[in-house]
Amino acid sequence: MSSLLKLSQVEAYIQQFHILHDINFEVPKGEVTVLLGRNGAGKTTTLRTIMGLNPVSKGSVVFKNEDISNLKPHLIANKGIGYVPEDQGIFGDLTVGENLRVAMKREDQETTERLDWILDLFPDLKKFWKKPGGQLSGGQKQMLAIARAYVNENDLLLIDEPSKGLAPIVVEKVMETILQMKEKTTILLVEQNFLMASKIGDRFYIIDDGQTVHNGLMGELKQDKALMKKYLGVS
């Protein structure tokens, strides 16, 4: 198993609060790895720490065999990591097209092809191309956030709770898209919606109280009802 991203004994604080105590996991290339856990377990902080938005106080984050712990966020992004935050991070005053243009590091043929591909998956973005991002629906904002992360040739996408607050029909659409993106890139997904996570994910890590406490293949988790009930509240 060739690992694209590896976190070893990572600890992190938000201000004086010790949020991550001992995070250890690997993200194999070409797969979807899902971080599961209850609210407040430290999943979002883990993604933010990988992106350099929270400092790593101990341990290491290694991406493509290079230690990226505590690099500045823009340097981490330029190493090939795309990020879809929990709040989507849409620039409300910029139009859909402008939101995508800000993200595009190059305007070459390859980027245009990637843009066309993602716009075919999300035709709403084409339809509302000139609409300010702040006026989109929750689902459209999520689509835009995913498209913005995908438009550059990233090796890894970090996607934080893409189903959060969305109508079931929109969740289906987002799920289908991530399944298609899976063919093209490696994904680290944080997801509370266990049904969605289990359909998309290849392997999982459970985070509890800032520590990775379990991991395995997604198929195994579905069989382990006790584990699911203990850490995820799913029965």
Binding site: M51, L53, K72, P73, H74, A77, N78, Y83, P85, G89, F91, G92, D93, L94, E98, N99, R101, V102, A103, K105, P132, G134, R148, N152
Partner: protein, 286 residues
């Protein structure tokens, strides 16, 4: 009618000078969340450096260029040495930039002496036009033209270029911009320098307009700029133009009709805006 036109031109010219100062301030506040009370210091340094060159060379164009370069250099120094250590802490920002403002003000007295300096417009901008019964002073029209030209240029950069989009996106969500692979610190520095250059330009243009420059005028003028930023909406470039014109016109008309209220009117407008639209006339959406 001729009186109204004259007051309008006066108000627009004052508004444009305030706009040049406020535009930098609003971008710096919007993008960097920095309360820069030293902005008035950059204004007076632009005025003095430009006027000094103007005295020496008799070239107003060169004076403008020197003022802009002075603003860029002082902007770089201010951002790196004064602002950078206090990012994210508004109390420290107020204290250190206000302190630096006083340092810049006193350095003016050391470098150029404490006395006021008289400044006249260049020969090619002296005098006036007559259109019907209305007398239009050339230098004021020049300021209005420069102000609109700069507004249009910066507006088009912000609207049409990727760097402009990055600045606007940075005003809305700095963190997100960084995660798109953009070095926001570098953008901060560039915007700060441009903002400082606009303040310095405003200073040198203000000199022949008021006919006299003195070290304390930076603080006086920057208070107007802060009022404009609050009225226009913190971080809104277009808002700062509208608010600056509003303040300029209100001041010009009040100075003529109710002189006792000419200074209070700006505070009154700001108070009304804060009560009914605390986010300012033009809100920047995150």
């Amino acid at each position: 009618m001729d009186l109204i036109a004259s007051l309008t031109v006066n108000g627009l010219a004052t508004g444009m000078l305030i706009f040049l100062l406020a535009a930098g301030l609003t971008l710096i506040f919007g993008l960097m969340s920095v309360l820069n009370f030293a902005h008035g210091g950059l204004f007076i340094w632009g005025a003095y450096a430009g006027v000094w060159i103007y005295y020496v060379t008799n070239s107003f164009l060169l004076a403008i260029i020197v003022a802009i370069v002075t603003g860029l250099v002082l902007g770089l120094i201010t951002e790196r040495l004064i602002i950078r250590p206090v990012y994210g802490n508004h109390i420290q920002q107020i204290l250190i930039t206000l302190g630096f403002m006083l340092v810049l003000q006193e350095l003016i007295k050391v470098a150029f002496g404490p006395d006021q300096k008289a400044v006249h417009p260049p020969a090619w901008l002296e005098g006036s036009f007559q259109m019907g019964d209305v007398i239009l002073i050339k230098y004021r029209l020049f300021i209005i033209a420069i102000g609109f030209l700069l507004f249009l240029t910066i507006y088009l950069i912000l609207k049409k270029t990727r760097i402009g989009l990055i600045v606007r996106a940075g005003v809305m969500d700095r963190e997100m911009v960084q995660t798109l692979g953009i070095n926001i610190r570098f953008v901060f520095m560039a915007v700060f320098m441009v903002g400082a250059a606009l303040a310095a330009l405003s200073g040198v243009l203000h000199a022949p307009y008021s006919g006299v420059i003195y070290a304390e005028m930076g603080l006086e003028f920057s208070i107007l700029a802060f009022i404009v930023v609050v009225i226009g909406g913190m971080g809104s470039f277009t808002g700062s133009l509208f608010a600056a014109i509003l303040v300029g016109l209100a001041q010009a008309f009040m100075a003529y009709y109710v002189p006792a209220l000419s200074l209070a009117v700006n505070m009154l407008i700001m108070t009304v805006v804060l009560i009914f639209r605390p986010q300012g006339l033009f809100k920047v959406k995150g």
